[in-house]
Symmetry: C2
DNA sequence: CGGGTTCGTGGAATCGATTACATCGACGGG
DNA sequence: CCCGTCGATGTAATCGATTCCACGAACCCG
């Protein structure tokens, strides 16, 4: 592969001049410029990003460590992150943690070794020392969706409190009183927060949230299935299950179907995170939708701000309830038949 | 950030010795080794992958350019690719082309500039000169899922012919005679092949595939919706629509629902690529399942073989039909009630 | 006891870029 | 006419690793 030296030789100038042309430095004659450009063309030269990064100590690359690529919420997030980053002149390297702290650390280490300019993380657990060290060491960093409390890192996330209140109001109106939740891992902020928001909202209606109605999931489908089966085995099973993410909702659907039961008649279902398929599931699933694209873009902007020496602020955007039929007849689109 | 020089100073040896310890070269005394390791520990030193890559001309990184991250089929592929690559000591950088040739080229260029060791591509179009040049120039490369004919690059894919025949047999048995297809872009191999396989299979039953029953889609949901609406507007609409990927099937569901019609009564539906949500859609969707994980792993193995100087062979794995209810009552799980 | 291995180590070149500094010629003003 | 300035260019240092080569010490064998 042709190097800058080859181009210099071909154009009859020094490597310095070639470099200047490539970085359009003002002080280079028109004649030299055209000769260099011609040489670049004939040799099909492309600057070696590795060498350039070594010298300039910038990779123009962002690292994104997400919790699970198979989760549509995160792929949508990843997509918007890459889009915004590209618009700002950065590339993105994605690391998939599969909800495993060890994998998360593997990717963080890898990205740091590659000297990425900044790191976007949705932490799988509460306190990877590696990540805390990196943050303290001054690696530009932004948390997205989930975060680690007590670290001085901007957080870009969406606040589901209001939407959860709306959800509980909706459920209450439909006559449901025994409400259960499939929680995410307690080590994640979203895992804890969604339970708290749910408990609070229930409290406003004088409803309890007994321990038996808090199932411990891990944001993966299988755990949703397992927890739902547990709920169905209870002497007094809940009337509604609220899954803290879309994959656990999928697992819940699996469990209900495996028993030959029906949603919402036998068990109503709602989920955090709205995805396209929820429109066409049987029945369509009521969900809390985050402004995913906006979150990704805001996170990138905050991170790039940090990288380029500007403040880089935390952002919190509201989520909203999308009512469908999985909790009972939808009072909005109420079609009179039955 | 500490460099190898700092480690050398701390340990009281030369950088050469440090390097030798790090790459566990045999010729280094136990005493030196422990001193170096201690220095590495106290400084929290991590080798700079950028510098290392410049010197060794290896990045231990694979590039993966996929057609669409929002397509669950490709995220599953991406996941298995990363997994296998990690097992073999490689990292993966993913580029998302969003089915756009310009974006695809952007990512290929970017990956080449970063001097990745090898490239895994599922080409969005038939002949990006950039990619052809790279292949000719000797960049280790493997096509996965889709490929470009006439290029000397191994192809790892799945053959859907038999499964499509099974599908048509299934449809025929259910009494369907007017079968339509939502095709993928003609510029992609899978876009063409699936139509061909379908046409062939229909031929075996003496069924025609009129042009009006071939809708031109682009593997994205919106095109599936548009094409399906066109089908429904026909004087004689088809009885079945076969979508060449899962997103277009989603679009088809959108279209059917928007008209207040029902699957399969008003229009039956089948899709290429099986995804988890198809189990829970209304109705569950009959689909052709590819061995996605196996494809990803085989592709990585082929690519790494090429990189490390071994042959690196093409692989074709069979796809299989998964019958559900979207084409009419399932003759296998036939539940006697109605 | 001398010469040839072997082993451990350090010096220095190298990868491909960027960039500070030096140089040189032309040009304009006093 | 001379000198200072400015614009264009080249030389060489540098980033952080790897690795070839040389060198000295220890060791072995005859």
């Amino acid at each position: 592969m042709a190097s800058i030296k080859d181009v210099a030789a071909e154009a009859g100038v020094s490597v310095a001049t070639v470099s200047r042309v490539l970085n359009d430095h003002p002080s280079v004659s028109a004649a030299a410029r055209t000769r260099v450009l011609a040489a670049v063309e004939t040799l099909g030269y492309r600057p070696n990003a590795v060498a350039r990064s070594l010298r300039t100590d910038q990779t123009h690359t962002l690292g994104l460590v997400i919790s699970d690529v198979l989760n549509p919420y995160f792929t949508e997030l990843a997509r918007s992150v890459e889009e915004e980053a590209r618009a700002l002149g950065y590339s993105v390297i994605i690391g998939n943690a599969d909800e495993r702290p060890d994998l998360q650390d593997h990717h963080v280490r890898n990205l740091l070794d590659r000297r990425i300019d900044g790191l976007l993380v949705s932490p799988t657990d509460g306190g990877s020392p590696l990540m805390l060290d990196a943050a303290r060491a001054g690696t530009p960093m932004v948390f997205v969706d989930r975060w680690i409390p007590g670290v001085d890192v901007p957080v870009v996330r969406s606040d589901g409190r209001a939407a959860v209140r709306d959800l509980v109001a909706h459920l209450y109106r439909l006559g449901h009183r025994r409400l259960a939740i499939i929680a995410g891992p307690a080590a994640t902020t979203t895992g804890r927060e969604r339970v708290e928001a749910f408990r609070e909202a229930l409290g406003a209606y004088g409803l309890p949230l007994p321990d038996a109605y808090i199932g411990q999931g891990d944001f993966q489908a299988e755990s949703g299935r397992r927890v739902t089966e547990g709920f169905l085995d209870l002497a007094e099973p809940p009337e509604v299950v609220f899954a803290a993410d879309n994959l656990m909702a999928l697992g819940a659907l699996d469990a209900v179907r495996a028993r030959g039961l029906r949603v919402p008649d036998d068990l109503a279902l709602a989920a955090f995170d709205d995805i396209r398929w929820f429109v066409h599931t049987d029945p369509p699933v009521t969900a809390i939708a985050q402004p995913t694209g906006e979150l990704g873009r805001a996170a990138v902007r905050a991170l790039v701000d940090r990288i380029e020496g500007r403040p880089g602020e935390s952002v919190t955007l509201p989520a909203r309830l999308v009512v469908r039929r999985s909790c009972g007849e939808n009072p909005v689109t109420n079609r009179s038949q039955s």
